[in-house]
């Protein structure tokens, strides 16, 4: 057989890194045999429903549960009074604050959890929830973070009275949470004082919600005889949940089993621990029966973990030729009624300090103030690493604002400011070390692909025609993400370093099982981790079972969010597979009676150097591992790796968006969206493309329609899919994707993570295009979301709609 054909056949069988392997997850999902939390049904299982506050801010005068308890089929009605003896009426948050599990004498946001009704089934529980009588005394609500800092603003958190120092330093007002600063303020201020030109822009990244198609939920099953607690849960971080449950309940972690089964999308919504989970666990312990809690869509959209709500002011100092000298940013961050922001412990604004972007900026200073309001808690990353979407939005908007001020083309100003390829690793003025990048070629490739010059010429002609019914906007972003949290020296959750893990066991027949500390919510981990092992250890991917999400079998890991699976758990997987390979090398050497160094690894076997006819396949070696190993070697073929990355990874991309806007109606059509992503080494191109399509679509959703606004009374508007925009197949644009490959120098296989880049990069690209459509009329910015009404309002303010 021809060597190339033979190698091709072996590669095809191996399905390693770089293959568009079809997904191992698909057979169950396409046949309706997925196993999501709400599919779980246990003997004797009861159903729990929350009673929630209609008010945004109120004292609870009384709660009468007697009618609900008397309702047939009801087993328990829990209130804060029932949880107090267990010290479970409050719980710690990931941000060093506390959150009421069930309202303790006061509600601080609309739909806050007040009581938990447990009954035979969900209909009975819902009936009984209506019978819980709560008397409220309404208090004035504040939903604007700036008004919340007024001297006479209502006190949102009387439980913090007298506590002038929070988890992140001094609190300067009763509704203030923290001030966090980074960078050299004096140097930055001096650069501004001496600058040839400065620009300043206020912008709001509105409150939105990740809204995975599956809502949050759990099934808790406490076995009183064994003393074991098992919880099936919609969690992106089951091991951390186990630790939290252990801390809260005083049950040892060895008696707690957390299982994240199939998860119907997460996007950050399923990182936190929510009151419903805690109540289901307590109810199961109290009643000795399994208890299921599944939230409704409205509960999901209005109580479990919003994203963003960042009120940002950016300033750039620059030379007249557009070279940026300094960046200054001030942020007021609305954290809602409890600070449940999901960030690494020491960084209350996450990795917002990546906000110098792809540009070589000598001086920068950032200041972020966290504020309480009467809105639901959260502050999770919605398909992005911690606060990275906000950071990228800020810098990409600001560089456009500067370009307009100096009348420099928006592509050209980026060229003049890029960090150059030879500057990597690049130490940013805010202390991050960008591991790798190659920005200019990516931008040029995209500009050529869309024929940028022709687009600008077409736009100029359209602008020159006063009777043209449409406007044309061209958006550009050249973004850098920071993902893969993270080095444990910088990143921990509740004191646990943000490592991740992989354990591989090769069976005697040469097949294998791998278990990780991460958990897929659609990313295809069962498919792609096997590809890494296939390439690194020479075992066909089809012979590798990948398991995640069961804390009793998987090694401890911090979970899947912030694009950390491939950078962290994927690295652990490669390293564990290499340990397998090196043990296999020794066994092969023993079998072939040569020295280990005399062997070379060739896809799925070890061959004797200079004598390629002699060799041992991994399958043969696996069998020998259980009966014929070198003297002094342990039997078996297993490896485990806990990987603490030396640095983050920095995926990047260059995007162009073309919008056509009807002046009279504000209707906007995405004519073209071209996305080039560089995620380093590409493990499965098919899955990468799918992730990018999804990220772009969620970016489109945020930019063009998503928002969770509040009225003055603190009523949340947009709590159903009637009001909250999820794009359908009709309005979702067609995406064009492209890539370059700049491997991460510190990652074992050079991979960087991909799924969040398109979300992070596309949102400012839509804003760039929308603003660009009006730029010739003096517009430098207007806030998302760009639904037709808002765009029409803006067009009207410029006299375009007549």
């Amino acid at each position: 057989m021809d060597t190339n054909i033979e190698t091709h056949a072996r590669l095809e069988k191996l399905e390693g890194i770089g293959c568009s392997r079809k997904r191992r997850e698909d057979p169950r999902f396409i046949q309706g045999k997925g196993n999501y939390v709400d599919d779980i049904k246990l003997p004797g299982m009861l159903s729990g429903v929350m009673v929630r506050s209609p008010y945004a801010h109120a004292k609870i005068v009384s709660i009468d549960t007697s009618k609900a308890k008397a309702h047939p089929g009801v087993h328990a009605v829990l209130t804060a009074e029932d949880l107090k003896p267990l010290k479970l009426h409050w719980m710690p948050t990931l941000a060093g604050d506390v959150q009421a599990v069930l309202a303790d004498g006061r509600v601080s946001f609309q739909n806050q959890e007040v009581a938990f009704v447990v009954a035979d089934d969900r209909y009975t529980a819902a009936d009984a929830a209506d019978l819980v009588e709560v008397e409220y005394e309404e208090l004035p609500a504040v939903v604007d973070p700036f008004k919340a800092l007024a001297p006479d603003a209502p006190v949102i958190r009387p439980d913090l009275d007298g506590k002038n120092v929070g988890a992140h330093g001094a609190r300067k007002h009763h509704n203030h949470i923290f001030n966090w600063q980074i960078g050299d303020k004096d140097k930055t201020d001096r650069a501004f004082a001496n600058a040839e030109v400065t620009v300043k822009q206020d912008m709001l990244y509105p409150r939105v919600h990740p809204c995975p198609l599956e809502t949050c939920g759990s099934v808790a099953n406490y076995d009183a005889i064994r003393g074991d607690l098992t919880v099936w849960i919609t969690s992106q971080a089951p091991h951390v949940v186990r630790t939290v449950v252990g801390l809260l309940s005083s049950i040892p972690e060895s008696k707690i089993r957390i299982i994240s089964p199939d998860i119907g999308g997460g996007f950050g919504n399923k990182v936190g621990v929510y009151p419903g989970y805690v109540c289901a666990i307590v109810a199961s312990i109290v009643l000795g029966r399994p208890v299921k809690w599944i939230e409704s869509r409205s509960e999901n959209l209005t109580t479990t973990a919003f994203a963003r709500d960042y009120w940002m002011t950016g300033e750039l100092a620059a030379d007249k030729n557009g070279k940026i000298r300094a960046l200054r940013v001030n942020v007021t961050a609305d954290h809602g009624a409890f600070d449940a922001c999901a960030d690494p412990t020491k960084w209350p604004a996450g990795m917002f300090h990546v906000c110098t972007g792809s540009y070589d900026i000598a001086n920068a200073h950032v200041s972020v103030d966290g504020v309480y309001t009467n809105k639901f808690p959260g502050g999770v990353a919605y398909r992005c690493s911690f606060r990275v979407t906000e950071a990228v939005y800020l810098i990409e908007r600001m560089i456009d604002v500067l370009a307009q001020r100096l009348d420099i083309d928006k592509a050209e100003i980026r060229r003049r400011n890029f960090i150059q390829a030879e500057q990597f690793p690049y130490l940013s003025p805010l202390g991050l070390e960008f591991d790798s990048g190659n920005y200019a070629p990516a931008l040029e490739r995209v500009l050529e692909a869309v024929d940028y010059k022709a687009l600008r010429a077409e736009q100029a002609a359209l602008r020159a025609d006063p009777n043209a019914p449409t406007l044309m906007g061209i958006g550009i972003t050249t973004f850098t993400e920071i993902v893969g949290a993270g080095p444990s020296k910088n990143c921990d959750i509740l004191g646990i370093g943000m490592f991740d893990s992989c354990e591989i066991r090769v069976h005697p027949d040469g097949s294998a099982i791998a278990r990780m500390g991460s958990i897929s919510q659609g990313q295809g981990h069962q498919t792609t981790y096997a590809q890494i092992i296939a390439s690194e250890a020479g075992i066909a991917a089809s012979q590798i079972a990948v398991e995640e999400g069961d804390t009793s079998t998987a090694p401890y890991g911090l979970g899947t969010y912030g694009s950390r699976s491939t950078p962290v758990a994927g690295a652990a997987t490669a390293r564990a597979a290499r340990k397998i390979r090196e043990k296999a090398r020794k066994i092969a050497a023993h079998l072939l009676e040569v020295a280990p160094d005399d062997l070379e690894f060739d896809l799925d076997q070890f061959k004797v150097k200079g004598d390629p006819a002699r060799g041992k396949t991994m399958k043969e070696i696996a069998w020998a591992a259980y009966n014929n190993v070198p003297e002094g070697m342990e039997m078996g073929l297993e490896a485990v790796d806990y990987y603490d990355p030396p640095n983050f990874t920095f995926p990047f991309g260059a995007y162009v968006c073309v919008l056509d806007i009807t002046k009279k109606t504000g209707e906007t059509k995405v004519r073209r969206f071209y996305a080039l992503d560089d995620c380093g080494t590409r493990i499965n191109p098919m899955i990468i493309e799918g992730q990018i399509h999804g990220g772009l679509t969620e970016g489109f959703a945020v930019a063009m329609g998503q928002e969770l606004p509040y009225d003055e009374q603190g009523n949340v508007l947009g709590g159903t899919l009637m009001d909250y925009f999820l794009p359908t197949s009709q309005e979702t644009p067609h995406w064009e994707t492209d890539f370059t490959v700049t491997p991460s120098p510190h990652h074992p296989i050079g991979a960087k993570g991909v799924a969040e880049s398109p979300h992070v990069g596309s949102i400012p690209c839509f804003s760039s295009a929308m603003v660009d459509a009006f730029a010739h009329l003096g517009t430098t910015h207007f806030n998302m979301p760009y639904n037709s009404f808002r765009v029409w309002q803006h067009a009207k303010s410029l006299g375009l709609t007549a």
């Binding site: 046949q31 198609l213 799918g690 999820l726 359908t728």
Partner: protein, 169 residues
Amino acid sequence: MAKTVVSFTLNGSPVDVLVEPRELLIHTLREKLATTGPHIGCDTSHCGACTVDLDGLSVKACTVLTVQCDGAEMLTIEGFAKAGALHPLQEGFSQEHGLQCGFCTPGMITRAYRLLQENPSPTEADIRFWMAGNLCRCTGYQNIVKSIQYAAAKMRGETVATSHPVLAE
């Protein structure tokens, strides 16, 4: 509340269930008939995760009362694979990577089935229009369109191949 016996045909087999008049079809299917393929995503008939085929129409089972289904013929995702062979739509969704988390997939496939019954050769615009009642948060729909085109071609007897060959790069 008084209960009623409702009888219908589910994926070719007769079933009888005892339900309250207010019980929603999606709850009957999922909790009484072990048919957990259709999912609940929104409670308000926006998302289509609960789509089933009822007497030749796509319906959202979260907005149908079980008592309305007496005597009906019902098809859910569980009824698509026959004797271990996948339906062309199931094959198409896998070959064209038309799913990620899988939560919308049963409803998507069930809705696409009805589309291809009505229109065996839909254009991309036809598909995007017909599928607009089924939300997906993961895929951005582009590969769902390709999945349905793959299935349509296969059902018309044409030769089909994935647009993602294993060793492309």
